[in-house]
Symmetry: C2
């Protein structure tokens, strides 16, 4: 299959590499000539250009620019597509993207390959990055079934697990488990910085261990990523933060009231709930939806 | 040196194993005859008993029961100690323990070996558990210098890093980096459980990945541990939670106001601050204080 990848960063480059390894013909497009040259030198693409006109022969095109540029990149690409080309994106929010791009192209279908690294750009390209990982598709009632089927075949080629849901459902789900954790974690670091006694602050830094390391990891990550989540998944994130603030207030109230039964039952509830998020449910390994 | 270990759980058993391996003579005391027998069978001790009277020949005694039993165990042990015996504890809070035990024995000195596993009891015993880890000592103005020196020698034998601070300073520092993260993390899990749409809740569980895994880890741990932190380090934890709640409220307010500069600068601040807690400061590897 002839696949166009627009935006040769970590996700775009990794998709290109894996699909090319599986025998697909990859056409890469980047705004920067330097990135085009590097993608060719790295063997990620069969051909690449700064000019989206090369996408005319593509049967599938995946948009992989930063979220904030998604709609404008789509508008630049669409005039160059042949009729019937399946268009998708790899953005990590879906509601606003689907609303912006679906009207531009009948065979558009939102997507979110859920993998990534701390790095960005072509440095972040990794083969087999998507193996065993969810690849969400957000078709609507208007999406042609053949477009969905084509993408599911390509997702299977990556070894990823296709999951269907509606665009806003995706955004609500990832708000809980991907975007909320970033702000929860960042606020932990920020709260620790309020310690007014420099000796205590230095001691806390010295004694911090695996508990702090893990809980603070995503909050100490790339600020652009957190900003993107807040800007583009604002409503779902604010809803999550509201519920989170209530959970914190409930724990504080119980501790302040010496209500140890409530503290204990809350911690028992979170202990027993965590495996539902973290371990595959027993007897139900992740299923490929075909 | 003849060392008594009272309470043969994960910490007590691991201290016993390492000190015995370094040639010290270990006397173990447990409330349960079964634990006494197992500790002997595991080779953790040279002798063990349910009767604290065996501690009469010890030069150093380390109290390692659960925090809630620390003061009562100390009161049971003290009548059996020979004059001049150095008494310490391994509890993870220090203020209330030091206030309770210091009046009972002049050579008492609070301690906190900062290592541990998810397991408990003798299952959790691990050799070299303390290598490179902080071992906090909380001497007061009344602590005899020889008692401090004796413990520092034993800490060096473990390969651990002795750190001095006052008892309440310890509790404030660990509230930030050890106790607050547990509640921050538990509240994340608990907030996710408020999702009212079962399809979204199931999708969130299915899409949860390393970000959720790390941020929720300590909040999904042993409820007894979190309860102990809240009960015995209540004031410092509540102060931390208060500052944390303000940090969350600040982020929510900025997101709600589309104040992306504030969101961005907060995330830049947390990104640049995290290495102070997580990486050893440049050019300053952890130092053994001798």
């Amino acid at each position: 299959m002839r696949i166009g990848i627009v935006g040769l960063g970590g996700i775009g480059g990794s998709l290109a590499a894996d699909w090319r390894d599986r025998g697909h013909h990859i056409l890469g497009v980047s705004r920067r000539a330097e990135t085009v040259d590097r993608a060719i030198a790295m063997g990620l693409v069969d051909g690449a250009s700064v000019d989206p006109a090369i996408l005319r022969s593509a049967q599938v095109v995946v948009l992989c620019p930063p979220i904030g540029q998604m709609a404008s990149v789509a508008a630049q690409v669409v005039p160059h597509l042949a009729a019937g080309t399946v268009l998708t994106d790899a953005g990590s929010v879906k509601g606003e993207i689907v609303r912006a791009i679906a009207p531009l192209w009948p065979e558009f279908l939102g997507g979110h390959p859920m993998a990534g690294t701390e790095k960005s750009g072509l440095e972040a390209v990794q083969r087999n990055l998507f193996v065993g990982r969810p690849y969400v598709l957000t078709p609507t009632a208007q999406t042609p079934p053949e477009a969905i089927a084509t993408l599911k075949t390509l997702i299977a080629d990556l070894g990823a697990v296709a999951i269907d849901c509606d665009p806003d459902g995706h955004d609500r789900a990832v708000a809980w488990i991907s975007h909320l954790p970033v702000f929860v974690s960042a606020a932990l670091i920020d709260a620790c910085l309020t310690e007014g006694d420099p000796a205590i602050a230095a001691l806390a830094q010295r004694l911090a261990s695996s508990g702090f390391r893990d809980t603070s990891r995503v909050g100490g990550g790339n600020p652009e990523l957190g900003l993107m989540m807040a800007r583009h998944n604002r409503a779902a994130l604010l809803n999550g933060l509201q519920k989170y603030q209530e959970a914190i207030a409930g724990l504080m109230g119980a501790i302040a009231a010496d209500d140890w039964d409530t503290v204990h039952s809350t911690l028992e509830r979170t202990q027993s709930a965590r495996p539902k998020f973290v371990d595959p449910p027993e007897g139900q390994p992740p299923q490929r939806i075909s």
